[in-house]
Symmetry: C2
Subunit: 156 residues, 2 copies
DNA sequence: GTCGCAATGTTATAAAGTAACACACATGTC
DNA sequence: GACATGTGTGTTACTTTATAACATTGCGAC
């Protein structure tokens, strides 16, 4: 994700969509969960549970327990509002909640940003490769490490 | 991987190929590293570092330290003899060491087996999707959770 | 209201991974 | 052989990530 964009808009947009989705589904986006979602969205870099915990504690003054964050994250992942990046043990906001998808990520080792894509070619290639071997796909994980456009241009 | 195969052959074969590769490269497959490789290969299920550590300690009587195992695994991964399954924090033997590849896995949630594939369709779809967005791929991670053939047939 | 369940708080613990430093052991040099 | 050098291993302590068990709160259905 380019560093030059109005990220406050990303955050506001994510929260609005989350509100709408949860209302529609009858899921309870409580104050805590909403705040954790906001913190996950603080950037496009996947954020660890303990980093979020720290943010949260800083906001509130008193320290929260890890479980508080993990439970909120679990809810958010279930609702498809947040994805977990397995190779980083970290979480990032979903770019397109609502539609069913499992998340494919281009994770830049330069700036740390994780760009979510939903490439039909990748998806179908995986399903095809699996089908060929009689494997039934439930949850594909695709996390591509490399360098984003802007990090290739300015090395270091 | 079918449960009905001569797995001792898998192990022996993996060790033989590892010996050959390391000799060829001038890499030192020490007794410890070789033993860890053997333990990783004890099945086709990805095995956690601490599980391997336990195996190791059991063999030797005295308990080894985690670092012992992690260092051996690091070497084995560098040499491409073992892959790390990010979504499981576990390690599995490489089915085709020698050739350069990053590993694509069909991980069965029924039996736990991880079948390694190297599907050109999946690989090229990822590179194409990345290129479209100006992203330079270094290390793709593909870990597909689901059910293998035999686990679909006999549910539960 | 009050019953019941879902969400949160609290405390403790497990699992996974790393840092720092000392020692052992090979290999090559003189 | 004595020695220097680099790589692998042992040991201890520690950090980071994640979960278990149980108490408490608070909202919604009736
Ligand atoms: Zn943004
Ligand atoms: Zn998404
Ligand atoms: Zn086998
Ligand atoms: Zn492999």
């Amino acid at each position: 994700m380019s560093a030059l964009h109005d990220h406050t808009h990303c955050i506001a947009d994510a929260l609005t969509r989350a509100d709408a989705l949860c209302t529609e589904r009858g899921a309870r986006l409580t104050a805590l969960r909403r705040r954790v979602l906001e913190l996950v969205w603080s950037s496009h870099r996947p954020r660890g549970a303990y980093a979020i915990l720290e943010d949260l504690s800083q906001q509130d003054g008193k320290a929260a327990a890890p479980l508080t964050v993990y439970r909120a994250l679990e809810f958010l992942v279930e609702q498809g509002l947040v994805h977990r990046i397995e190779s980083l043990n970290a979480y990032v906001g979903c770019a397109a909640p609502g539609a069913a998808h499992s998340g494919q990520f281009l994770v830049c080792d330069g700036c740390g940003d994780a760009a979510e894509i939903d490439d039909p070619g990748v998806g179908s290639a995986i399903v095809a490769a699996a089908a060929e071997r009689g494997f039934h796909v439930q949850r594909p994980t695709v996390e591509v490490r490399g360098l984003c456009k802007s990090c290739q241009e300015k090395p270091r």
